[in-house]
Amino acid sequence: MSTRPTVLLCDDSRALRMLATQQLTDAGFEVVGEAGNGRQAIERYRELSPDLVLMDLVMPECDGKQGLSGILAADPEARVVILSSLGAQSDIEECLRLGAKSYLQKPIDPADMERILLGVLA
């Protein structure tokens, strides 16, 4: 049984998911699932119950805010961290008010990511 914290990674970019999976693995996390939009993230969250969700904001069909709301409706204790390069300050504020635990700016700094995610898990 793995003791690594498990992560669901939600981003519409396959390239970003590849990059972030490598960085998360190097930092001691286990990426147990991926999603390409907010709707898929809600479904995958129900199946996998990960310790953490990394959620992009700007995605087609169902964006990060909708994904965040859906996951928190399914599990109010869910630990969702927003990941974005283009989020307006008002979007980030709204996500934090909705219940996101923190925010990470792209391009990802692995040291910041590790610190933030471990802080959210503590």
Binding site: D26, S85, L86, P107, D109, A111
Partner: protein, 283 residues
Amino acid sequence: MAAKFFGQFLLEKGVISAQQLLDALDAQRASNPTLGELAQQRGLLTAAQAKRVNERQRVEDRRFGDIAEDMGLLDSTQLGELLAAQKAQRKLFGEILVEQHTLDSARLETELAAHRQEQEDAARALGETVSAHPLSDLAASAINTSVRLFPRLFGSQCQPAQALDSAQALAAYPVGALVRIEADQPMAVGLACTADTAMRLATAFLSIPQEKCDDELALDALGEVVNVLMGYVVRDALSDDAQYRAFPPETRTPLAQAMGASPCALAIGMSSQLGDFALLVCR
């Protein structure tokens, strides 16, 4: 006239062949180890530590040595020694051409002077075009951000080359990504290149070999790069509390078409060691 790297200038003039250019670039690369490589050779850093410093460099506007020092991995004495060793080993591209007997010293001096003149002419022409354009601030932000981000995202350099004055000029770059922002003053920033350049950019961005990358992944990576670029441009152009809405990268519409459809657009040709590309800014 477009600004070019010296090697590209010589190649296009027919002064050196493609193979001579590649040989000289390989030799230059071997003579210019990065600080991280030197530190590993001397047993001061492990590969994992150097990788962590490189990853921080992707998001910070700081030098490798400064970050390594802050992280407690190198002290100032070690850093000073590494920098001195790096400087002692470094060879200029022209020096290597002479060493490899591709050019003699006199020809090198002549070509360097011609290249310098062309660079100055290109910079003047580009500056005049950009500064006279209504999107000059946005274009300057996109150019400066690209020049700053390129080494961190791709481990390579880029520089502005020339203004591309029409959508037809962009047609040479059929692969591209465009990110739009809906705001009081909507804006869009795009990057276009050839399929080969997209592949080289993607493999450098993702640090993967070419056989692990396909055209779709390369295009997706290009979209992610433009997302990051736009993130910086937005922070330059809009106030912190500005209301705006960002859209996912558009990768299916050629940028030439997007430029043609925009009421106000400016495209800038860029030179890079990974291939030429174009930046497009639109309102």
